[in-house]
Amino acid sequence: MSLLSQKHMLGLADYSGDEIQTILDTSLQMRDILNRPVKKVPTLRGVTVVNLFLENSTRTRTSFELAEKRLSADTLNFSASGSALSKGETMLDTALNIEAMKVDVVVMRHKSPGSPQFLARHLESIIINAGDGRHEHPTQALLDMMTLRDKYGSLKGLRVALVGDILHSRVAMSNIIGLKKMGAEVIICGPATLIPRGLEKMGVEITHSLDDAIQRADALNILRIQLERQTAGLFPSLREYHKYFGVTRVRLEKASSPLTILHPGPMNRGVEITSDVADSEHSVILQQVTNGVAVRMAVLYLLAGGRAEPSA
């Protein structure tokens, strides 16, 4: 049984602030394990986890796989290429076949928004969303929040600016939902064409001026900008994007106090972020990566921990 009210982690929209707090608290304990000389506990011994990544991912898949191994779960990696999916099998048939081999947890990434919800309706397994299209990426937002909490102690009243391509960003959506639930203020900054309609109804402030966002925020979470958005006509050029929305040391120096810099990766150095910012003492980008493993261990433990055999 899950130690949370939810069976799955489909998105932070389903979770309360208290539950997010529980996950973040548990993540601290998990990070202690990561800092030990022997980084492994028997918590999920006998639990089988499938990493069903039907869209490319290196960082998130590696992070989940490591989290699973640290908890002694049996893990299996599954990707779209070279699988029956490339032979025309549906995602549901693929998932049902994997489940028929008796697995307990499916960690999934898919390009279609709502695909984890869809699988959760048809499978018995615990589903953890590792990114569904532009919808949600809950563990990324949890690790961002954990990193901010490390720095500031609490998220309440913290002003966090999300900068860049909000329209296509599941990271942005999960961060908005999670940060709002934890009492933070969210500032959205990006070109008008990369901010989705109706976002203002989610209780965020929207600005098209990076200087304005820097003036008001305690921390910047800088999102990756993709060249394909330029060719789709959403902004004129990466050069112009960098000039007006790229986070540089010169811009940051205008702030009254230093801002904490986050980036979910992979970074385009010289586009949305310059190297002097990415590598500065205020950057917590690599701490995010460490916290990612801890957060995923916490989520796996809280959702699947009750399924494991009691450890001797």
Binding site: A13, P113, G114, D132, G133, R134, H135, E136, R170, M173, P196, R197, G198, L199, K201, M202
Partner: protein, 276 residues
């Protein structure tokens, strides 16, 4: 609504039929009441209260009897996509739903873009108690370039043309189609959509498309094409019907066009009205 009487496993004889306890609705005569109908040789004889001798009795309590319905916009998918629907399955569905007439769209594979294919579809529908009307393609292969042989198709009994599934993208082609069809007493059914604005979208663009992470289509993707149709109808004097209207901006444009006396009509889908 479930019925203990299935209209298909027990064929009743129209020679002597007693339909019991249905709500009879007929807008033309203003009737809306529960009645028992006695039908003899296919003709309504009386609204008798007593069960007539040796009649087939059908208990229709909880059901409605209405004039046959007509669906102006169906897809029979045949030829080409028989996995999804066939002329036979579409006709059976119509019959089950109380529809005695349907008009099917031509976006089959190949498209219904000549008199021969139109006649073929109608011939397949002959065996069903449903009038199968065909809306023929506006352009050959629905490619938006060359007009179909409209005169011959109209002569075969067609009254409407549509490249439904998508819009007639070229305004020049649309104008010429409306003019040519108007000469023949036919009209164009436009699937109103600006493809550039709607591209990649799966739902209405707004707060919920943002929350769900689903690519949205702005309502103006439809309304911009409706505005184009209104202008073309006004310029040409021809008639254009707007398919599956779903945006309030479109409704407003159609309303204004009608007020001006333009020959613009529209249709809506039940699910657009009833499902939140």
């Amino acid at each position: 609504m479930t019925s203990k009487y299935s209209r298909f496993d027990k064929p009743a004889r129209a020679e002597n039929l007693y339909l019991q306890g249905a709500r009879v609705v007929d807008p033309r005569t203003g009737i809306d009441q529960v009645l028992n109908l006695h039908i003899v040789d296919g003709v309504l004889k009386s609204t008798a209260h007593e069960t007539p001798q040796s009649a087939d009795v059908i208990d229709l309590r909880g059901h409605w009897i209405t004039p046959g319905w007509f669906d102006l916009h169906v897809h029979l998918r045949e030829p080409g996509k028989e996995v999804a629907e066939t002329i036979a399955s579409g006709c059976m569905a119509a019959m089950n739903g109380g529809f005695t007439g349907i008009a099917c769209m031509p976006n089959t594979q190949p498209a219904l873009d000549d008199a021969a294919s139109v006649n073929w579809v109608r011939a397949q529908g002959k065996g069903f108690p449903v009038d199968v009307n065909v809306i023929a393609a506006v352009t050959r292969g629905r490619e938006g370039k060359e007009l179909v042989e409209m005169s011959e198709i109209v002569e075969a009994g067609v009254r409407a043309f549509s490249d439904d599934g998508g819009p007639v993208k070229s305004s020049a082609v649309l104008l010429h189609a409306v003019e040519y069809a108007n000469m023949l007493g036919a009209r164009i059914f436009e699937h109103a959509e600006d493809k550039y604005l709607a591209e990649g979208g799966s739902m209405n663009e707004g707060e919920w498309s943002t929350r769900l992470g689903i690519s949205g289509m702005p309502t103006i993707a439809e309304a911009i094409d409706v505005a184009r149709c209104v202008l073309i109808a006004e310029y040409s004097g021809g008639a254009i019907h707007i398919c599956h209207v779903s945006a309030k901006e479109s409704v407003e444009l159609i309303r204004q066009a009608k007020k001006k006396g333009l020959r613009i009509t529209g249709e809506v889908c039940p699910h657009h009205l009833l499902v939140d």
